[in-house]
C-alpha cells in the first residue's frame, strides 16, 4: 500500500482529507502511482501530467524520502520505504513565494 500526499488544491478537487492510499501495479514506479491515482480520482487527469503526453506539468514536483524525484524517469522504481508505506510519496506544487 502506497501513501500519497496531494497538494491543497488537488485535495480540494478530489475532496480528500489527509493522505491517499493506493495499491499500484508492480513495479511501483512514479508512472504506476500516478496511473493508480488517476484511476481512483479521474478528475486528477491533466492536473499532474499532461493528458496526451503524460509529461509532468511544469509546476509539479515529486518528492520521495527527502529527495526530489521530479526529474527521474517515470519508469524508475520508487524507494522501498515508499513501496512499504513507511514514507509517503509527495506530489507538490512548485514553490511560489514572495
Amino acid at each position: 500500500m502506497i501513501r500519497v500526499v496531494l497538494p491543497f488544491h488537488l485535495r480540494n478537487l478530489t475532496r480528500v482529507e489527509g493522505e491517499v492510499e493506493l495499491e499500484p501495479v508492480a513495479p511501483v514506479t512514479i508512472c504506476a502511482v500516478l496511473d493508480a491515482l488517476e484511476e481512483k480520482f479521474p478528475a486528477l487527469r491533466g492536473t499532474i501530467r499532461d493528458h496526451g503526453t503524460l509529461k509532468r506539468r511544469a509546476f509539479i514536483r515529486y518528492f520521495a524520502c527527502k529527495e526530489d524525484w521530479s526529474l527521474e524517469p517515470p519508469e524508475r522504481q520508487l524507494p522501498d520505504e515508499i513501496i512499504r508505506g513507511d514514507e509517503p510519496f509527495l506530489i507538490v506544487g512548485a514553490m511560489a513565494g514572495g
Binding site: P7, E38, P42, A43, R45, I60
Partner: protein, 388 residues
C-alpha cells in the same frame, strides 16, 4: 416572485449571491473551489440549475465543473461511477481535455515571431440557448471548443483559427476567446471576440468563420490600423431581440454595428475616455448600453479615481455618468471584461465586479448602486440568472 442568482468568478474561488426580485437583501455562498482561479461561471438558459464553471490554476491546469442543482453541489462532468472507465479500462476524466484539432499551427507572439498554439485555460463558457448538454468554451490560446454531452468531452471548432489565426497575437492578458455570443434568432450564427485577434462570425454553426472588423481602427496597436485581424477587441454585446445590432468595447473606442458586424461605427461620443473592458445592454431597452471607462491602457483604473458607469440611452454617442452609490474618490480598481451583466426584471438590474473584490448592483437601470459583496478576491466574471 422572481429570484436573482449572481455567479461571481474570482481569483480565489467562486461565489454565488442570491436575492429576491427586490434585490436588496443578498445571501452569499462560497468560496466554491477555494484557492482556484474561476474565470467564468454561467448557467444554462434551458435549465438554470445547470451551471458550468471554469476552474483553473497555473500549477494544476484546467478543470471543468458542473452543477445540476443551482450551485449547491458540483462535479467534474462524466465522473459518475458508470462513466469513469474507458474502453481500455482506463479512467476517462476527459472533461478538462482541450486538444487543438489537427496540426496545431502557430500564431504571432509578443515579439512578432511565430509561436505554437498552447492550451492554457478556459476563459468563458457559453451554454446553448436550446440544449442543456451543449456549451461552447472560449480558451487561451484563442480557440473555441464545443461540448455536446454536458461537458464530459470537448472538441475544437477549428475553422475559427483558420481565419488568419497566424496573425493573431496575445495582448497583455493573453490571447483568448473571451466573448461568445449566440444569436437567439439563428442557431447557426455565433459571434466571438479575441484579444488581440479581433471579432469573428460564423453563419454555419462554427464550420467557417470570417473576421468582422470593417470600421475598426487601431492606429497605436497595429502597423495597419485598418487590418482585418489583430484588433484588441475587449468585449462585444447584443440584445436578444436584435441580434444584428452589436456593441463593442475595443481597447480604445466604443463601437456599434447594425448589420451583424459587417460594418462598425464609433459611438464613443462624450465618454471621458473610451478605453475600458465590459459593455452590456439593458434587458428592457435595446438602445440602452453601459460601459465602465478606464483611464488608459497604461492606467487600469477609473479616471480621477472616481468609479462611474456610463450609460447611453441612444445606443451610443451620448453618454451620462452614473455615480450614485459608487466610490466618488480614491478608487483605483478595474472592471474586467466578463465582470458585468444584467438581469431580466422590469427595472433592469445591472451588476459588475471589480478587481478590488466588490460586486455592485443597481436595481434601477443604473440610476443608483450599492455593493452587494465586498472584500472578495479580485473579480474576474459576473453572470446573472433571473429565476422564476
Amino acid at each position: 416572485m422572481s429570484k436573482i442568482r449572481v455567479l461571481v468568478g474570482t481569483k480565489k474561488g467562486a461565489f454565488i449571491l442570491t436575492a429576491d426580485g427586490a434585490r436588496k437583501n443578498w445571501k452569499i455562498s462560497g468560496p466554491h473551489f477555494a484557492g482556484w482561479e474561476i474565470y467564468h461561471l454561467k448557467g444554462s438558459p434551458v435549465d438554470p440549475n445547470r451551471i458550468f464553471a471554469s476552474q483553473s490554476s497555473g500549477w494544476f491546469g484546467q478543470i471543468i465543473q458542473r452543477s445540476d442543482d443551482g450551485g449547491k453541489t458540483w462535479n467534474t462532468p462524466g465522473s459518475s461511477p458508470e462513466e469513469l472507465k474507458g474502453p481500455g479500462g482506463f479512467p476517462k476524466g476527459e472533461s478538462n481535455k482541450f486538444v487543438y484539432a489537427g496540426k496545431v499551427g502557430t500564431h504571432k507572439f509578443y515579439d512578432g515571431s511565430q509561436h505554437p498554439w498552447e492550451f492554457k485555460r478556459v476563459w468563458h463558457i457559453e451554454p446553448s440557448l436550446t440544449n442543456p448538454d451543449v456549451a461552447y468554451a472560449g480558451v487561451e490560446d484563442a480557440a473555441i471548443f464545443k461540448t455536446a454531452d454536458g461537458g464530459k468531452t470537448w472538441k475544437e471548432l477549428p475553422g475559427l483559427r483558420q481565419a488568419k489565426g497566424n496573425l493573431w497575437q496575445p495582448g497583455a492578458g493573453g490571447m483568448a476567446v473571451h466573448t461568445i455570443l449566440l444569436d437567439p434568432k439563428n442557431e447557426k450564427r455565433i459571434f466571438v471576440a479575441i484579444s488581440a485577434g479581433g471579432c469573428f462570425r460564423t453563419d454555419d454553426g462554427g464550420k467557417n468563420w470570417k473576421p468582422i472588423t470593417k470600421g475598426l481602427k487601431s492606429p497605436y496597436e497595429l502597423p495597419d490600423p485598418d487590418a482585418e485581424v489583430g484588433h484588441c477587441v475587449h468585449r462585444i454585446a447584443l440584445h436578444p431581440s436584435r441580434p444584428d445590432v452589436l456593441f463593442m468595447q475595443k481597447h480604445w473606442d466604443v463601437l456599434r454595428s447594425d448589420n451583424a458586424g459587417d460594418q462598425w461605427n464609433e459611438v464613443s461620443g462624450n465618454l471621458p475616455t473610451d478605453f475600458g473592458f465590459p459593455i452590456d445592454v439593458n434587458f428592457n431597452e435595446p438602445e440602452t448600453i453601459y460601459v465602465v471607462p478606464i483611464t488608459s491602457d497604461s492606467l487600469h483604473y477609473p479616471p480621477d479615481g472616481k468609479l462611474r458607469v456610463y450609460r447611453s440611452r441612444t445606443g451610443g454617442g451620448e453618454w451620462e455618468p452614473l455615480a450614485k452609490g459608487l466610490p466618488p474618490k480614491n478608487c483605483y480598481v478595474n472592471v474586467l471584461r466578463d465582470a458585468m451583466a444584467v438581469d431580466a426584471l422590469d427595472k433592469c438590474g445591472v451588476y459588475f465586479g471589480t478587481t478590488g473584490g466588490q460586486v455592485y448592483c443597481s436595481a434601477n437601470d443604473g440610476n443608483s448602486w450599492s455593493a452587494i459583496a465586498e472584500h472578495l478576491p479580485p473579480v474576474y466574471s459576473v453572470e446573472v440568472q433571473t429565476l422564476k
